[in-house]
């Protein structure tokens, strides 16, 4: 038996829990008002109203993949095996410890004892095995799909060796298995819930988790009232409070319109609003409100480039776009100083991310030069063309990040200066996936992950990969990097490959990052204290209270 570095990492995280919590609290409070969230003792009781865009995707947890909106509610009614903090550090939660065996092909999870789902059934090894099976395989007969990021390609089986131990087998190394257990898609549900038909699973009332809150009542699509579980005693130590929540209830109220959500909290009629307009933040903080902009681990805001279609099948065009975007202007205009320009396509808090800002410099002269050399001639209408074809493409703002519409409008303005015509196509969350299916030259992506190893799964078409850049298997260097990262058995060699990858992908213009993504913005009334945020940028309200 080899005990992995990862476990040692986790153990040290637990020891450092108190310190981490203080740090998190400081982060959570945002800017100068850091101590405000921890300067008073928690107050028991209170009802929190949380305004959110919508819950349109339904509650079949595996079918819809958990969206940025549903994820907020799921996170309060369910637990996960492992916790991940904003720095990407894993720490125990329902799994008190874990072992990695046989070159990361087998894993043993040791579970906390005495944990129960809200229907009274035990969260034991058998329940965890049921969950892992659904994450890995789904149930096509019932129309239930697997969890996207789960390493299911090489998943073999999961077994309960006793009531608190689970043994998981893979056919090849699966370094990303353990981190994925902290992902917001891998939530633990009661076996009774997992056994329901897909139509029954659509009913939130039948979703039984083990989290600090339970569903008290709801009106589908309108409001959802959660109440605390008084006997909850198994929260992650990393957030500094493992017991029952302080708040009595959380009411998630759907208000679709961003400005209405903002104004409602600003006028004192609600406590928290999700996703406010970034440009309104300054006037809100001036009024004493707190706006938290947690960052998740994952890809930055930006575009994945389809190299199989015109005009982005040309290297010169891709590079021209890369240098034709003024990222600082985006931050200054669309966002605030709480945002940072991207320096890679990986978020800065991903441990393996590097600083490649030189490859992403704003240099319109260079862009124009590249396009001139490639034969794209500037026409009288201000746009370039070659052989009668105008240099143009359509981008679709990412509907999960409302501010991307303004961002893409600005990018269209910037690229117009170098003679590229950018059209916008605005769709709702439900139409977004169809956009990708139509092979757009640039596709705006937001994706969180816990482990950089999962990046290997998007680079090429090998091993059922997502093939973001549509190179298939034609780019040998990309193939090698993807394989190397996927099969790496230690982190140091993987780090070197990830460095190479970032350099190569940016140079080739396969990925065009823009800014560090803040997908989840929380506008908090000054009365709301103690909110913590996990590594996927979701708020934990188990630690929060409302100041009297």
């Amino acid at each position: 038996m080899i005990i992995s570095k990862r476990i040692r990492r986790a153990a040290s995280a637990v020891v450092a829990a108190a310190a981490t919590t203080a740090l998190l609290a400081a982060c959570a409070a945002g800017t100068a008002s850091a101590p405000s969230s921890s300067d008073s003792a928690p107050v028991e009781g209170g009802d929190l109203t949380f305004l959110i865009q919508g819950y349109d995707a339904g509650w079949v947890s595996s079918k819809t993949s958990i969206s940025s909106y549903e994820g907020n509610l799921w996170g309060e009614i369910t637990d996960k095996l492992i916790y991940v903090d904003e720095q990407g550090t894993l720490s125990p939660w329902i799994a008190t410890s874990w072992e990695e065996l046989n070159g990361a092909t087998e894993f043993v999870l040791h579970l906390k004892e005495g944990v129960t789902f809200s229907d009274g059934s035990p969260l034991d090894a058998a329940a965890v095995v049921d969950n892992i099976n659904i994450w890995a395989k789904g149930d096509p007969d019932r129309g239930i799909s697997k969890v996207g990021l789960f390493p299911s390609g090489n998943f073999d089986r999961a077994e309960a060796t006793d009531s608190s131990t689970v043994h998981v087998f893979f056919t090849s190394p699966a370094l990303s298995f353990i981190p994925t257990l902290a992902y917001h898609g891998t939530i633990l549900l009661s076996p009774a819930t997992l056994a329901l038909s897909i139509d029954d699973q659509a009913d939130l009332a039948k979703q039984i988790g083990s989290g600090p809150f339970t569903v008290k009542s709801f009106t589908q699509g309108d409001s959802y009232v959660l109440e605390k579980r008084p006997d909850y005693d198994w929260g992650p130590e990393a957030i500094g409070h493992t017991g029952a929540a302080y708040l009595d209830t959380i009411t998630y109220k759907v208000i679709k319109d961003t400005s209405v959500r903002t104004s409602t909290v600003a006028s004192g009629q609600a406590d928290v609003a999700y996703n406010v307009e970034p440009q309104e933040i300054e006037s809100l903080t001036d009024q004493g409100f707190v706006v938290d902009t947690p960052r998740y681990l994952g890809f930055t805001d930006g575009f994945q480039v389809d190299t199989s279609v015109a005009p982005t099948n040309e290297l010169a065009v891709r590079q021209a776009i890369q240098h034709g975007i003024d990222r600082q202007d985006i931050v200054d205009t669309v966002y605030t100083d709480k945002w940072d320009v991207a320096t890679s396509f990986l978020q800065g808090n991903v441990p393996e991310a590097g600083d490649y800002s030189e490859l992403l410099s704003y240099d319109p002269d260079k862009s124009e030069e590249l396009l001139d050399e490639a034969g794209w001639v500037l026409g009288s209408d201000g746009y370039r063309s070659k052989d009668g074809t105008t240099l143009e493409f359509t981008v679709t703002p990412n509907p999960y990040v409302p501010s991307t519409q303004a961002e893409d409008e600005l990018i269209a303005q910037q690229l117009k200066r170098i003679g590229i015509k950018v059209n916008l196509n605005v769709v709702d969350v439900s139409g977004y996936a169809a956009v990708l299916a139509a092979h757009p030259p640039l596709f705006q992506t937001s994706r969180s992950f816990v482990d950089v190893g999962t990046v290997a799964g998007i680079l090429t078409s090998q091993n059922k990969g997502e093939d973001w850049f549509k190179t298939g298997t034609s780019d040998q260097k990309l193939n090698d990097l993807a394989n190397g990262i996927a099969t790496a058995s230690d982190r140091d060699s993987r780090q070197a490959l990830v460095d190479d990858l970032q350099q190569y992908v940016l140079e080739q213009g396969y990925s065009i990052p823009t800014v560090e993504l803040v997908q989840r913005l929380y506008l908090l009334s000054p009365k709301v204290k103690g909110v913590t945020f996990n590594g996927l940028a979701y708020a934990n309200f188990a630690t929060a209270w409302i100041a009297p």
Binding site: K146, A202, D257, T264, Q269, S430, A434
Partner: protein, 334 residues
């Protein structure tokens, strides 16, 4: 008399059923042109990481791989038996979604109807009796102004002033009495305008009639004259507009409910449109057609019984020729 009325009633009812069924088929055909479908869209979401084969399995599970005609026949069959199917987006029964949304929309539309009548009467009264000629002129142009302001602008202004500035209602609880009143006001304003115009025009006409002059000469107070002799006869053409008004209220609910964040049929439509939730869209449109056709049918069935001028023999002729004479009422439908 009763036999010929029975025949007439039966004929009209059959006609109504045909229109409803045609509306259903028409809507189905329009909607099935929609590109893509929400299930595949959701499954194609890269976060799901599914292969095409896996997607195909789920699509087959929902019957979305069958030809359009088969889908239409199946869907029409279910509709006739009262089964509206399941929402593709939320997996809930459509009848449940509509049932949940209906009370909110009925409250909103009902309040808006009352408000619009009240507004129209006040305007009409003012136009007749305000002492200042100038004020009467201004009031006379109010309906035209009401018809020129987009619904969404009215809603935004009311929310900004009464919710955020004056705290007269809260956007969190859009179903509260106060919030409902303001939402209904938004909806009532454009609807009240044509009502007011009809009232004004009829009042102009009636007040020149002999009986009004006689009543006035007898010293009947202005308000009583207005209420008893002028409004009552003027209400008849206004009542004839009820089916159209109901339609307008349902259409206007899409915008009003979206702006006020109410969960009614309008919001259901809006969500169904953006997510291409075909069964829901189909059901709402059919429901609207059923409501409209039923209200019209009732009006048609009741009016010959009430209107003494229509005797048994002339009734069918009257129905047949109504369209010919309806240029007086332009587009009041049969």
């Amino acid at each position: 008399m009763s036999r010929s009325y029975g025949r007439y009633a039966l004929l009209r009812a059959a006609q109504a059923v045909i229109v409803i069924l045609l509306a259903y088929v028409g809507t189905f055909l329009v909607i099935s042109v929609l590109p893509g479908d929400p299930i595949t869209n959701m499954l194609r979401d890269p976060q799901n990481g599914l292969t095409d084969d896996e997607i195909q399995q789920v699509v087959a599970h929902y019957g979305l791989d069958k030809p359009v005609v088969i889908q239409l026949i199946l869907s029409l069959g279910r509709f006739v038996t009262g089964d509206l199917g399941f929402s593709l987006q939320s997996n809930l029964p459509v009848s449940q979604l509509l049932g949940d949304a209906l009370p909110s929309t009925l409250t909103l539309a009902g309040t808006a109807l009352l408000l619009s009548v009240a507004i129209a009467v006040v305007i009409a009264y003012g136009v007749q009796y305000l002492p200042s000629r100038w004020a009467r002129g201004v009031l006379r142009s109010v309906p035209s102004l009401f018809l020129s302001v987009p619904n969404f602008v009215v809603g935004l202004i009311l929310i900004e002033i009464f919710a955020f500035r004056l705290h007269a209602f809260t956007t969190i609880d859009p179903d509260s009495a106060a919030a409902t009143l303001f939402a209904a006001l938004t909806l009532a304003i454009p609807v009240s305008a044509p009502l007011a115009e009809v009232l004004i025009a009829n009042l102009d006409h009636e007040s020149r009639q002999e009986y009004a002059l006689v009543a006035r000469s007898r010293g009947l107070s202005q308000a009583r004259l207005f209420a008893r002799h002028l409004v009552k006869p003027s209400m008849l053409p206004a009542v004839a507009m009820i089916a159209l008004i109901v339609g307008e209220l349902l259409g206007g609910a899409v915008i009003t409910e979206t702006i006020f964040g109410r969960d009614g049929l309008g919001t259901v439509v809006q969500k169904a449109v953006t997510s291409q939730d075909v069964p829901v869209l189909q059901a709402v449109v059919s429901l609207a057609a059923v409501v409209f056709v039923t209200v019209n049918l009732l009006a048609d069935l009741v009016s010959p019984l009430l209107d003494p001028r229509l005797d048994a023999t002339s009734r069918r002729k009257a129905t047949r020729e109504r369209d010919a004479t309806s240029e007086r009422k332009l587009e009041v439908p049969a």
